[in-house]
Amino acid sequence: MCHNKKLKDPIYGYVYIPVEYMTDIIDTAEFQRLRRIMQTSYSPLYSSAIHNRFVHSIGVFYLGGIASNQLAEEIVRKEIMKKEQVENIASVYRLACLLHDVGHAPFSHTGECFYKNKNFQSVELHERIAELVGSSLFAEELNKKEAVAAAPHELMSVIIGIKNYGMFLETTENKEFFARCITGYKYDDGTIEKQIKNCFISMLNSKVIDVDRLDYLIRDAYITGFETVNIDYRRLLNALTVVCHNNKFEIAYKKDALSIIENVVYAHDAEKKWIQNHPVVLYEAYIIKHIIMNLNEKLNTENKRLFSEEALSREGIVLNKKVKVSLLCDDDIVYLYKNMFSDDLSLEYLNRQNRRHPIWKSEAEYMGYIDGLGGEQLNEIFDQYIATMTKGEFKDIPSFTVIDETYIKKIKKELTKAKAEMKAAGGDTRKEESVQNNIQGIKRRMAFCLRLQKFANENNMDCDFVLLKADIFNSNFSKEYLGKTLIVFKDGKTENVYPIIKVCSTLKAEKMDGDMFYIFCRKKKDTKIEGIKEFCKRLYLDTVGA
């Protein structure tokens, strides 16, 4: 008798879901919330990018089913573990696949940093997980994880997952494994069981290939229309196996998967380089973060926060100004900023006519116009200056410095104050040295801003600029962890295992260091900006020469 329900997916066809998962997980309000959370922030570039976390979660569950069946089969075939034992592990893993994003924040990755505390730490999230799992050893381990903390949405997904669906996990052991699957916190290699569990963990949370990444790469390309390489996920996942390598059981891929592994890397590189790092997408994220920070300032109190476990629940939470939110999703954020707490930047989100535009539109343009203009010493000065100007963008914290006439006046006042302080230093040589260097820094900022002001005048636009830092693109082919992926060549009954870097010539990409930045301006309608190359040269030379 069939105990499954089926959902139709445009990519995978029918996805079969156990009835109890459908009724007691997917149909619940906490899971249905994911229908109102956009999967990506790509819609400014690709208008069709309106798929949500719900369909992605179903997709990951589907791929997780293929991966877990294949792994379980290989583990039993190689007599590493008994069938019943590995089936329990696979079952928890599949549940983790379904629930891996259940705690995602509104606007997905753009919003998740606001789950952290006011010092941008994950301490409280880890403590809550420890409480829900109920293992003191695991709690001790979590206490040391701040430096390598999982993404905030992963931590929150564990919390929501165990809190609402813990009945499917039953034991402390299963809850811990569930948490580890979603966060990627592997066990210390000890017993064979832990090593096998680590293999499953890496199939949901890995830096190279996992079912989460596979689904979003395939789905994002399909929905947006972005032309990229095809990924034969069936061939890839059916090539999964487990090998004993350096006295430890690890995931490996049979040689049939080699070309697909390369394709996954190409696809990931393409999405990262041409979509995620696109200045229009970066600017959209900047506006959304500003909106959320504004809402947090208005609504959060000492003990109650908009981005919290309580706000994700059905019961919800009552915040400042008697605003209640429950099952927090994109719609709530949009309603709040549109109707209750709007400002110029949030209105810019709604009305694209008035949006700022990037002066240069790609890393390639930046490299052509700015990178390497001067020698090493001048580059270092410029790089340090830009790092400071975009300082607020430490990790996910957005900087909201707008360079306009008000900001320029502020710098002029700063220079006046600094010069006065210099006169008052009264022979304190270290103080004089500090202030003198600071004056030089202020002068560089001034020169940078005045050059922007001149550029605005020349192009008949307001002096109104935003700087956003961006990462220089680094191909995944240059990443050390990709090179360690294991490939199996079968020779009769013998399995010959090699790290992929030994057998695949593609892994020769050079790692690039450094950051870059974009400048966004408010160009007037029908105005074409000209003289960008000369402007960039002047910007660089004015700043380093100040």
Binding site: F120, Q121, I397, F400, A418, S434, N438
Partner: protein
């Protein structure tokens, strides 16, 4: 506008204040993470009094990043509980690298007598 004060700024400025009157063996002097937290709290307090908002970015992640990104300047000592200046680096090096681009008000906060008092008394003149 909100000032974001990273652990590297706290560490650098604390060491400047501790070392500014010292001549030799600068790397023997340390500042603990606990002192940096107190120092940071005083800096935020100073800026708040001036009507400015400031946020400290203190986490093990940011500390690991600091030790990685500024490994030429800082090293951990006292079993990972304190920071010291690496041998070969001077107070002037710290000033050039970490005070040139600070907002003026933030620099004054770091140098203020009241904020500096929370650092080890025997090391601060």
């Amino acid at each position: 506008m909100c000032f974001y004060i990273g652990i590297e700024d706290l560490a650098a400025n604390a060491l400047i204040e501790i070392l500014k009157t010292k001549e030799d063996n600068l790397s023997q002097y340390t500042v603990t993470y606990a002192e940096l937290e107190d120092y940071g709290a005083e800096v935020v307090h100073y800026l708040n009094k001036k009507g400015e908002k400031a946020v400290l970015i203190l986490s093990r992640e940011s500390t690991s990043l600091m030790l990685h990104n500024y490994s030429d300047f800082f090293e951990e000592k006292e079993e990972g509980t304190a920071i010291a200046l690496r041998e070969g680096k001077t107070v002037s090096d710290l000033i050039v690298r970490f005070r040139t681009y600070l907002a003026f008000d933030v620099m004054m906060a770091f140098m203020d007598n009241d904020t500096v008092q929370v650092l080890k008394k025997e090391n601060v003149s």
